[in-house]
Symmetry: D2
Subunit: 253 residues, 4 copies
């Protein structure tokens, strides 16, 4: 800015005609008027690379163990395999869920469809990440693999197709960066703010703050019924050996 | 910015320490700084009573004729009856639609279920107001009349139940005051902003800026496919002699 | 609907080719699939006229007394006058606030600028309704009375001008029907959902679910700092004898 | 609807009592009912790494030239330097703007504050990316550098502080991944949908679909006035040699 401060003095001085002051555009203000120091912004060191967990993230799977998770079936230690820093679904052993419950979050997930292509449509490289155990961000090998639009990778399963199909080839790693806002209900159990989600698939916007229509339904239509404010994440065992790494979450609420 | 603006310091109180300036709350500004004269706000005379059309409204049914409407079936003049200033569905003659197309709107509708109760559930006092010919605000005699939550009066049919059931008795007039925002699609035909609606039923909030899930479906689930920015309103003939009066619209886009 | 139910039987029967089923549009479903009975919708009787309090409203001023209010200054009984069922500001006695605190609400207010016009601009028929004691819906005699756009009647004071000026003449009653959603903050005190408001002035949409920028500021700019989830309403004493009647609120959260 | 569809009863289990049918959850549907193939989802190959431009991106600066840009001052070829694939502000030569105009977009920017720290507060490593030439995403060396919350790196300048400070050290590369939605105005020039933005700074959510309050103002408060639907991006010359690489944009509208 050209600091033309001297006239400011005069303008706001006692002889300024009211008509001049009346128009905001003509009023010269100190820029400090619109500078705020509260609330203070917390410093959070990013990871060395953007996909690595920032300082305030909770690592849900960092490569070594499944201590943050239990089996969806019976709460026991999950039977999924961890090898070379990679987590892989052990088909038919059931899904896994976090010990901790979450509401509004940012989540980073890396996942890979099996390099050897087996099956097609929904039968190929299928899993899913469930926010609150209810709202599914679809995981599927959608690389040259036809299926319904609202069931492909990065769809909100059976609710919102992704804006584009940004899939990498089988055996290559995909990333999801998602921001999820939990729904709110009033005291009558009526929905007053639906869940919302933004998703980037391999760095490409695929869901832009879309409203979720209710918990994911494979059969029938989604429909909200009041539930707790925080609930665990689930990852689906859909009988395909999908792999994962670098799963971390930041709490936003 | 580096410009430390010495004269400013003087203006704001010659001995003010910097720490004082740093905080917006302590900076004394002329209140005119936050007063804007542009854009100018258009004057619109309200009706003599709130339910009557304001000066900028287009009256779609004012009591005398159906000149703003045509038959949904074949574009001919509608066969619905107009008597004593009241419009009534002529059952089995088909729905009606406006000659003009609309996008974002405020709509006022008064409607009445037949005083003599015939039928029940969806078979009693059923009609519907369709924004863009596609998005139905349900009209139904929901006074002591059990039906599914997302199909009762003031529901967005098969999408959103009303927050409460604010129905008046058969033969009494109900009002809907609704604000509808049309959906937007991008050049790939993908939805980038869903339709939204706010509705008051008899003065009570029943839909609070909810997102529509796509065009109303009686069978199956709603699903967006790109369509024009403006389309006519439709009113449904559901074989029940529902009556209407004072239908007006204000364009918001 | 033409009830072509017989083919449905066959279609879903054992010989239906998969390709037929694959396309939702071609699948014939029972309409019941999209009919929900939960959550049950609470019945709320509307007032005899739309501006009168519905059965679930809390009446804040019904014409007889100020028992729901205290003085903003010292919590004592307000000195404003109640006469012929009308509440009038007693200039210079200070604002009033509700005993009860509120979050998300629907509010109905009727107000009247003095019939005898005194002053101009912000000095004429000025008061204000403050949601949470912080967010002002402006009350002003804006009938043929020039002032800044974002300070006229039905503005969110110094934040959002009304979409149109729907003012009635001095001495006539105006109504505001407003839906307010309280802001939300996270554990770091950062804003995660701003306050929002929808307002109808004399039945005309003037604010359509706009975001509030922070608590109203006469001087300086609005700025959110974390505050409680529920707080009392305030009505301003701006030294003008503005009158009120029929003030009621419905809790939405 | 009155069609009682006798065959339907048979289909769903011939002896099913009506009460069974009434509840959606108990209706057995084919899962295909909620599978959609339209709209078809366009395939977009992601970059080899997530920060590299996807197949549908327009590269605004890829390392070799400034052909997509002109000088803000006079439309001439920009005087900023390009060396070793890096673009650097040539202080005092003025900002640059794109030849092409944009509306709703996803933008990726990498930027670096000078390794040698000079100055402090707003005088250190300052630049800015302006959507539509009007809405500034702040660029500043905010690493251990105190300034006002709503003016630090990743703020929407003087409107929204970032949720956290995710800054890397001087001389290291930062990334912004942003999704911007342009504002909409009606025919009276009134705002009907404000601009919105989501931003990730080094992979960390810092702005979650926040509403912009109007074009950025250094002095005074932001305020919307109707403008075209598409306008060029600008990058600010704030007299500091800030560097850039990998600037690309995807059109979302």
């Amino acid at each position: 800015m050209k600091c033309t401060c001297a006239p400011l003095l005069l303008l706001l001085g006692s002889f300024a005609p009211l008509s001049l002051l009346a128009q905001q555009n003509e009023t010269k203000l100190p820029p400090q008027a619109t500078e705020f120091y509260e609330p203070q912004v917390k410093v959070v060191s990013p990871g060395n690379e953007n996909h690595l967990p920032p300082a305030d993230a909770m690592v849900l799977f960092g490569g070594s163990d499944l201590n943050a998770w239990v089996s969806e079936r019976d709460g026991s230690f999950p039977k999924w395999t961890v090898e070379d820093g990679i987590l892989t679904v052990a088909p038919k052993t059931g899904g896994i869920k976090t010990k901790e419950a979450f509401g509004d979050v940012q989540v980073h997930i890396e996942w890979r469809a099996p390099e050897e292509v087996v099956g097609d449509g929904q039968g190929r490289g299928n899993s899913g990440f469930f926010f609150m155990g209810k709202y599914e961000l679809q995981i599927l090998d959608s690389y040259n693999n036809e299926t319904y639009s609202n069931g492909q990778a990065a769809s909100i399963y059976k609710q919102h197709p992704p804006l584009v199909n940004a899939m990498r080839a089988p055996g290559e790693w995909n990333t999801y960066d998602a921001v999820f806002t939990a729904p709110r209900f009033n005291q009558n159990g009526m929905l007053i703010a639906p869940a919302r989600i933004t998703v980037f698939h391999n760095g490409i916007l695929v869901q832009n703050n879309v409203e979720l229509r209710g918990p994911t339904q494979y059969i029938g239509i989604p429909h909200y019924v009041a539930h707790p404010e925080k609930l665990p994440f689930h990852i689906q065992d859909h009988s395909n050996p999908v792999s994962f790494r670098n799963i971390w979450v930041r709490k936003l609420d």
